[in-house]
Symmetry: C2
Subunit: 406 residues, 2 copies
């Protein structure tokens, strides 16, 4: 498997476009399109929130029907959530306007929206946007990057990742884009991710891979605290590479690895771009009884306001880490836990077998002053492990969210 440049246009047969349709923002692009002339089977996972945006309902219906699609159209600025019947109609307009441009059916166009909840999408923007997207469509890497930028909201950087691998001498590529901050937000930092591949794969197999990929990537960043109404992860496979991925083969394992790598890279980029965050936190729980338990423990630490605020202050407040493990709802023996912090190759043991070590606070502060911090929790009770990603809690986070909509 080889890391390569690019995103949704990295795989063969995919084109992308972005447009300034003035959905809500002025002077920036706010619509994006991913298109494949060769129809693609697709898999997807969506928000577990009871409150689901119109595009989520639409995509879920199409996923159940299971017919191939040609495009994904996305917009930023307005989430089209809590918009009632009018919202459903406008989401259909978004799909049908794009379909009209390509002479395909609306049911062959997936949709995704992110932005303010409760506002209606302006119909004229959707119409104009569809035309602009058709004109701007290009297979180039640049077009993929521009699409990734068009779906940004409070993101500070666009997020892409791509890898390729060989199957009997033929190159297969998996590439994707996503938007969303480490602390996923219900109305502006929704997580949206579109991944494309030129492999051919049975759609049930693809869905199975998509569902498990999300578990170890997007579901392991600190989203569980505020699960968006719009979270959407779509993977399209158009078979343009001429390689079919069959279960039980090495190609399947390679494809699996490629898909997991792209989703994990995108997840980590989101965690590192948390609203107002100054550093990324990676929490590894190792030697745990079960993977599920390790996941719950690592997520509990990653989402603790106290751990996040201490990280912001570069304060080695190991008590808060141990405490967050303690209220995860899992049994363990605190007298056995070891806590270590790591950054840039340096590591420091803070807590061992139930008591604090004689660590140097200066050293701890130095390590916590880095940009990418690892908190290692050794449970010393088993073989399972899990990793979660998050970020610190800062003044800027409060600034961004105290008066978001103005």
């Amino acid at each position: 498997m080889k890391k390569i440049e690019g995103g949704v246009t990295a795989a063969q047969g995919y084109q992308a476009a972005s447009a300034a349709a003035e959905i809500k923002y002025k002077g920036r692009t706010d619509m994006a399109l991913v298109y494949t002339e060769k129809p693609a089977v697709f898999g997807g996972t969506f928000t577990t929130n009871v409150v689901k945006a119109a595009p989520v309902h639409w995509d879920k219906e199409l996923l159940e029907k299971g017919n191939p699609v040609h495009a994904v159209v996305l917009n930023s600025g307005i989430a089209n959530a809590c918009t009632g019947e009018e919202g459903k109609t406008l989401n259909y307009t978004m799909a049908s306007e794009v379909a009209g441009q390509f002479g395909i059916q609306p049911e062959q166009v997936l949709t995704a929206s992110t932005g303010v909840i409760g506002m209606q999408l302006p119909k004229d923007s959707l119409v104009r946007g569809a035309g602009l997207l058709k004109e701007a469509l290009s297979p180039g890497k640049e077009a993929g990057t521009e699409a990734a930028k068009a779906i940004m909201t409070t993101d500070t950087i666009s997020k892409e990742a791509a890898v390729s691998f060989e199957v009997d001498g033929t190159t297969v590529t998996v590439g994707g884009m996503s938007k969303g901050s480490g602390m996923i937000h219900p109305n502006m930092a929704t997580m949206l991710s579109v991944t494309t591949t030129d492999a051919a794969i049975d759609r049930e197999d693809l869905q199975e891979l998509v569902s498990s990929a999300v578990e170890d990537s997007f579901n392991m960043i600190s989203v569980d605290r505020d699960t968006s109404t719009n979270d959407t992860y779509l993977v399209l496979a158009n078979g343009a590479a001429g390689v079919t991925i069959k279960k039980g083969t090495k190609a399947y394992e390679d494809f699996r690895e490629a898909l997991f790598h792209v989703s994990t890279e995108l997840a980590k980029k989101m965690a590192g771009d948390g609203e107002g965050c100054t550093k990324r936190m990676e929490v590894q729980v190792i030697h745990c009884q079960s993977k599920e338990k390790a996941k719950r423990l690592s997520k509990s630490v990653i989402t603790s306001n106290l751990v996040k605020a201490a990280l912001y202050g570069s304060d080695a407040n190991w008590g808060r880490i141990l405490c967050a493990l303690g209220y995860a709802g899992e049994e363990f023996n605190p007298e056995r836990v070891d806590l270590t912090i790591e950054a840039e190759g340096e590591s420091l043991l803070l807590f061992k077998d139930g008591v604090v070590t004689g660590y140097s606070e200066e050293k701890a502060t130095e390590i916590l002053g880095k940009k990418e911090i690892v908190i290692l929790c050794d449970m010393k009770e088993g073989e399972a492990s899990a990793t979660a990603w998050g970020c610190d809690l800062t003044h800027e986070y409060v600034n961004i969210n105290a008066d978001y909509r103005s």
Copy 2:
């Protein structure tokens, strides 16, 4: 039932004291004692955190044995959590030094600590403190208030509540104190609460009442996000009033009401004193299918960083409220929910039957600018309801917690 002044010394037969023992702080009181010469039966509830402080283990043991007690000794500054065997020994010292002053057994003295995790209590301070507490002991209201002050950490106000009611012409009193911020913290804003009553009651009946009282009060403030290693709620009943409370009588119902009132008042005071908070948020979920469901929904809103930050900015971001309801893990129909904000007698309907109302943003901002905000979520599906209390998320919260220990 009549609200009265005072706290732990309001009921007959109780004395209180505070002392500056220099546990960790200098120039302020940091130890408190509640004493009753007449032995008291007691009930208690403690943190659910897997990581429990030494005093929590001690009190739980005494609760299991079920023998009457004479005193509760508390300290602030150091939590005596994650302190291993030495911590257990020092907790025993804390109890036995007080016991020595009164010629009673260490097992007749309950303990509670709050402060930094991982530090050991200084033995000489415990010894000196016990003597000072004995000297300062007084039945006056002032002594109770001073005790409430001595256990404060990041609290900005001391917290007391008391009520009395009549049983066949005899006055029965229930009074208590607590410390802790609305956003309960693992290492400094632990919730500690001691309530006293001069009623006589069977200890099983008392424990049953204590366990249910905590469910609707202390467990309904936003503690579930960061559950302390030290959270402790103790209720002592010494029978000094000469009235015995028997199950199935009106006296029992009156006592129940009194105990619930005191615990709820103390809980609300904690919510309103959240670290760095500028306003209190009360979330009422009404017309819900079940009480458990209403509790989970209200807690989900009260603990959402996004709702809390929006409240700080007086931003009527109803989308975040609906979203927080949506990820509570409960099923409901978003198309039926109504959201209303209230403050100082004014109220404003923001969201009705799945869509936003034409409410005035100015009016909403005006209401959210008040000090005590009520968010009313009408599920329109049943008869159950629940109320949770919390506060806003502010810059000051980040200041307090970004570098707490220095």
